[in-house]
Symmetry: C2
Subunit: 342 residues, 2 copies
Amino acid sequence: MSSPISKEDQFAAWYETMLEAGEVVDKRYPVKGMPVWRPYGWFLHSSIMELIEKQWTLQGIEKVQFPLCIPEFYLRQEESHIEGFKAECFWTTKGGDKDLDVPLALRPTSETAMYNMFSLWVRSFRDLPLKVHQTCSVYRHETKNTRPLIRVREIPWNEAHTCHATREDALENLRMAWVGYKRVIEETLGFTGLILTRPDWDRFGGGECSEVMDTIMPCGRVLQTVGAHYLGQKFAKACDIKYLDEKNEFQHVWMTCYGVSTRLLAATLAVHGDDTGFILPPAIARYQVVVVPIIMKKKDSEVVFARCEEIMKDLQEAGIRATLDRSDQKPGAKFFHWEMKG
Amino acid sequence: MSSPISKEDQFAAWYETMLEAGEVVDKRYPVKGMPVWRPYGWFLHSSIMELIEKQWTLQGIEKVQFPLCIPEFYLRQEESHIEGFKAECFWTTKGGDKDLDVPLALRPTSETAMYNMFSLWVRSFRDLPLKVHQTCSVYRHETKNTRPLIRVREIPWNEAHTCHATREDALENLRMAWVGYKRVIEETLGFTGLILTRPDWDRFGGGECSEVMDTIMPCGRVLQTVGAHYLGQKFAKACDIKYLDEKNEFQHVWMTCYGVSTRLLAATLAVHGDDTGFILPPAIARYQVVVVPIIMKKKDSEVVFARCEEIMKDLQEAGIRATLDRSDQKPGAKFFHWEMKG
């Protein structure tokens, strides 16, 4: 970045330039909406996902991994769900030279993949609540303009899905989901948003009620950073998830699901950054301290580097993510570089 | 498992039964070769991947994330590579109702996705070595019988890819890869195998030389548990990865790649298990201690549970993964269950 771009005046240009210059993603990969995550950017996103996962572990939500591919007949089980997603599914249709027996969707979200298995796993009230989450990517063939981390076709995210014996337990679980999200977003990432209930026409396909966090971006637009859905018994009926209650009668479960994606990183970068670059919350920063050697005379170089190495190692041993800039740039250029990267 | 199966006499049946009974995977998901990873199993696999990642971090190999989808023209760049993989690629051909402009392969391995980007990232000798790894899944439309963790169509794995200025640096890097793998496999997972060079007809498509670890399974068959490939300059030429050397002349880089998959978990479970169930290395065990309350008289139940809770918490605070079996099974059934799960 030879001439910094004003974040306030030209937010969109600032954002796109910074994601490339800050080595978050590389958009030159030739599949639209699927950028490459560079080490610096992947560390930031993974760190946010780990913070979310830690909240779910504390809440007894277990980590699973479901297949990427969802058979077409699963997606069609819940009518409003397939309506919501059919226009944006990627379909895998061939294995080698041959057509597959059944077209497989790349998961646009995992409800139908998971809930058919839940119907096998839930037998009695003793199996409830069933609470799982996974960190993976979902795939949506967006036709609008793509934008890194915000609107892409490959979306790294974390999704949680739960089954409960009663409506009240499900609603209480959603309340706890917001406690977890707010802890990470407000206390660690340092931004917030408005928690809103979406109108019926804009709610998640297959849900009863969608609550979202809308974060206001520097350009004045809102970005949906969290989606949390009360599913009632719609999917439980569509996928036949039933339990035997204490009176030995079958009941459908009550469900919730919620997820967050790379938009958490997008909002973190957008809200805190300034014209000189990113400003990262220390909890997710790739490097919390960068040691920049300042060589006044060439003959001192070895002494200065040795001392810098020591400082870096002391910091690392104290549990701080520290690095030493060994490149042969001048200190000014190094400061500029690390200012930009946050 | 009401009647235990003899591991020695009927290894295949023992293995398949144990993976389901031990809640590693659930094969009832209706896509062949793509089982669901249950929390217990996913913890084991993820723990092994974390051990591998830790080795790569120590060796300065950086973690990236490349897109799942590889355009057909990338895969075709290296002739022997596409020959090796074309029969087993899954192809995504549609987005919504429309045909995609270019068919996209679900990565069968990531060489061509990565190496075209490497050609943009490598400019001068200062950019070398370039060493990256990623943890993801690869997809292969196996036509043979599938078998969980060993031969599947969705393969969770870790792959590393490196570029070097000289042939010697590349070979030295491969030597270090084996140091890392052996540390995890021999010192932590507690098994080993024969390190063999594959004959030309069986070598990785696009490589110069393939070294593998073949682990002998209890049934006497061998399982390839590690693959490490010296790529020479074949891909560097196919994907045009060049650097300016210190004399300002362009040179192609020398490359290596290597990977391990869920087969490490398969071998761990197969080698150590016995007729009563899994025997897990403590480093990857989901629970290192299970507290089983023994209630002699019903009225003592509360006191015993309270004491068990205390013991569990003390262990957890000491950094041990401990759990308390709160189910209403009898102690004998609990012992049987946890014996089986390792």
